[in-house]
């Protein structure tokens, strides 16, 4: 692929044939892609899937089992659980994707700068990064949201406080790996400015492991944000975020089990789809990367 002037000799060519190959990963990859397409459609246009208002209260119809009128039953306010699951896709996915996007951009920039900096700066900045890596994520998210206040947005911010450092570490390792490759030396010899080399040559060549990590991280982000909702600091009612729905459904678990079951099933299915695509992406883009030992949940 031509990245403008980056087509200097020695730059690893990224073949345009890669995309179709991605889908040749068996039925699970196709199913995961289809599921995510549906989830994406729910996020953009929930009206396509249900005509019901997810917040319409009908006390006479409270806690009804699944039926033709209410395929997933109703909740404690008589609201349609299917409508709430459909409308819940947007807050759930948007929060997870923005969390990872935020961490990715902030962390990658930091990692890029750290990796390109001189040796002593590199050491000092890595100590700072390591400090953030040393914090247990859920514990700190709990502490930060108890200070900043509850809610989905604050949870995203609180998790990003620790999450960016993972991308900084990954990006730095990538930069150190390619910094002395021939195409970088060549552009330096051609007299290009450092920041230009950073953005035009280092960045694009460091990105595939970051992309793989981001895909898998979205699934982790969904799980962590849902867990924070479950602990009471995340999405607040009446927002139909999936984790928050399971949390309220828990109160009715023993007598009305469908209420907590279906929103949780939605989380599971979407997370599974992201994980399958992430693993596939790794096989295609970055087959050498190994197991990640740490995966806080």
């Amino acid at each position: 692929m031509a990245t403008g002037g980056a087509a200097v000799a020695g730059a690893p060519a990224r073949s345009p044939m890669r995309l179709p190959r991605f889908f040749r990963g068996g039925p699970s990859v196709l199913a995961a892609t289809a599921l995510l397409a549906i989830a994406g459609l729910m996020t953009l246009a929930p009206e396509l899937f249900t005509r019901r208002d997810p917040n319409a209260i009908a006390y006479l119809e409270r806690l009804q089992p699944p039926s033709l009128a209410h395929p997933l039953g109703t909740d404690e306010n008589g609201r349609d659980v299917w409508a709430r699951v459909v409308h819940g896709a947007r807050p759930t996915l948007a929060a997870a994707v923005s969390l990872i996007a935020l961490s990715l951009v902030a962390g990658s920039l930091a990692g890029l700068v750290i990796g390109a900096a001189g040796r002593r700066t590199d050491e000092a900045l890595m100590r700072v990064t390591e400090f953030f890596l040393a914090l247990p994520q859920i514990v700190w998210a709990l502490a930060l949201t108890s200070v900043m206040g509850r809610g989905l947005v604050n949870c995203v911010l609180a998790l990003a406080v620790t999450w960016w450092a993972q991308y900084a570490r990954l990006m730095r390792a990538q930069v150190l790996g390619v910094r002395h490759r021939e195409f970088v030396l060549a552009s330096r010899a051609l007299g290009q400015r450092e920041w230009r080399i950073l953005l035009r040559h280092l960045l694009p060549n460091c990105f595939s492991p970051v992309l793989v990590k981001a895909t898998i991280d979205v699934s982790l982000a969904i799980l962590l944000l849902a867990a924070l909702s479950f602990l009471g600091v995340g999405a607040q009612p009446p927002l139909p975020e999936w984790g928050a729905m399971v949390t309220i459904g828990r109160k009715y678990l023993l007598d009305y089990p469908w209420y907590a079951t279906f929103p949780g099933l939605a989380i599971f299915v979407v997370v599974l789809a992201f994980n399958i695509l992430g693993e596939r992406l790794r096989d295609v883009l970055d087959p050498t990367s190994g197991l990640h030992l740490r995966s806080d949940r």
């Binding site: 914090l135 200070v147 907590a260 949780g264 949940r297």
Partner: protein, 334 residues
């Protein structure tokens, strides 16, 4: 030992940074602590000024941090805003339940994950092996709070074979506290009724929590064994006529133990977040439930003390893992 000593300054630095971060949180708290300490709404300006002086809130920030550190090192984290008891007493009371849960969970996932990993490496490419990766992705995609609720539905509501909340049946007297771990203490007291009851209460939460680390332990064990199974010394062991299990377990597993012990250790640290969630599902009276209740009640001294403690435990576990390397692998000594 030298490695421990070399790591020590870094650890001290890290702990200082962590305590500073927690101290920074205290500065960001909503509300005026002097106002709260003076008794809230009825406090006169003099009382508030007095409390401010008593708490050192009129001193420069770095002095306040030094005071905070001195108190924390002496185990003084202030009093809970809810029950007015010193927070350290609560932490001491709730801590063993969490330790028991986490240790049981890591024991379960190691007891299942390591044999599973060895078996799938030995029979690489066979059906068991081919199930490991999809299986771990499948399990890893489940929100554990939801999995826990589903387990409660099945094992408590439908089958009615396991209790769904707490550590002991209400009314049953706990054994005299020695370690704080009910399984151990009840055995020490030779009280089999309590032991059985405690075990029944522990099975569900510990199994759910073990799901977090099971997949990773299995996959790392498998990868470590695959790396080793084609080494020359295994061929030599076979040539000597040793039985296959002996070759795999004694010569293989032992040499693969460094990454395996590492992953088990790291996963123990990773369980901390899961402990908080699991304790909430099963009303397990540990630090996690304590912290979540404190967050609900905005009991800031309790929240901050928990944050500091959990972070220190997490950091120390991860350090211990690093230090364990050379003990297991002679090549890394010296």
């Amino acid at each position: 030992m030298t490695l421990v000593l070399r790591r020590l300054p870094l650890l001290v630095l890290l702990l200082a940074a962590i305590s500073a971060a927690v101290f920074a949180l205290t500065q960001a708290l909503p509300g005026d602590p002097a106002f709260i300490a003076a008794g809230g709404g009825d406090a006169t300006p003099e009382m508030i000024a007095h409390a401010r002086e008593r708490l050192g809130l009129d001193r420069p920030l770095w002095v306040q941090y030094a005071l905070y550190m001195r108190n924390a090192l002496a185990g003084d984290f202030g009093r809970s805003l809810v029950n007015r008891k010193p927070v350290i007493e609560d932490l001491a009371a709730f801590w063993p339940a969490s330790a028991e849960l986490a240790l049981a969970a890591i024991a379960i996932s190691a007891a299942i994950g390591i044999p599973l990993g060895v078996l799938s490496a030995v029979r690489a490419g066979r059906w068991l092996d081919r199930l490991i990766t999809p299986g771990s992705v499948f399990l890893g995609s489940m929100p554990i709070f939801w999995l826990g609720l589903m387990a409660v539905l099945v094992f408590y509501r439908v089958l009615d074979v396991l209790p769904a909340a707490g550590r002991l049946t209400v009314g049953l007297a706990p054994p005299p506290a020695v370690t704080g771990l009910l399984l151990v203490d009840s055995l020490l007291a030779r009280d089999l009724t309590v032991f059985a009851d405690a075990l029944a209460h522990l099975v569900l939460p510990a199994s759910i929590l073990s799901v977090i680390s099971l997949a990773m332990i299995t996959r790392v064990t498998r990868a470590a064994m695959l790396d080793i199974l084609h080494e020359d010394y295994l061929r030599t062991a076979r040539a000597k006529g040793l039985s296959e299990p002996r070759v795999v377990l004694k010569h293989g597993l032992r040499n693969a133990s460094v990454p395996i012990v590492t992953v088990v250790g790291i996963q123990l640290g990773q369980l901390i977040g899961g402990v908080v969630v699991t304790e909430t599902i099963f009303s397990w009276p540990g630090l996690g439930l304590y912290a979540v209740t404190a967050v609900e009640n905005q009991d800031y001294p309790a929240i901050l003390a928990f944050t500091l403690l959990a972070t220190v435990v997490y950091v120390v576990i991860n350090l211990a893992v690093d230090v364990l390397y050379p003990l297991l692998d002679p090549r890394m000594r010296g």
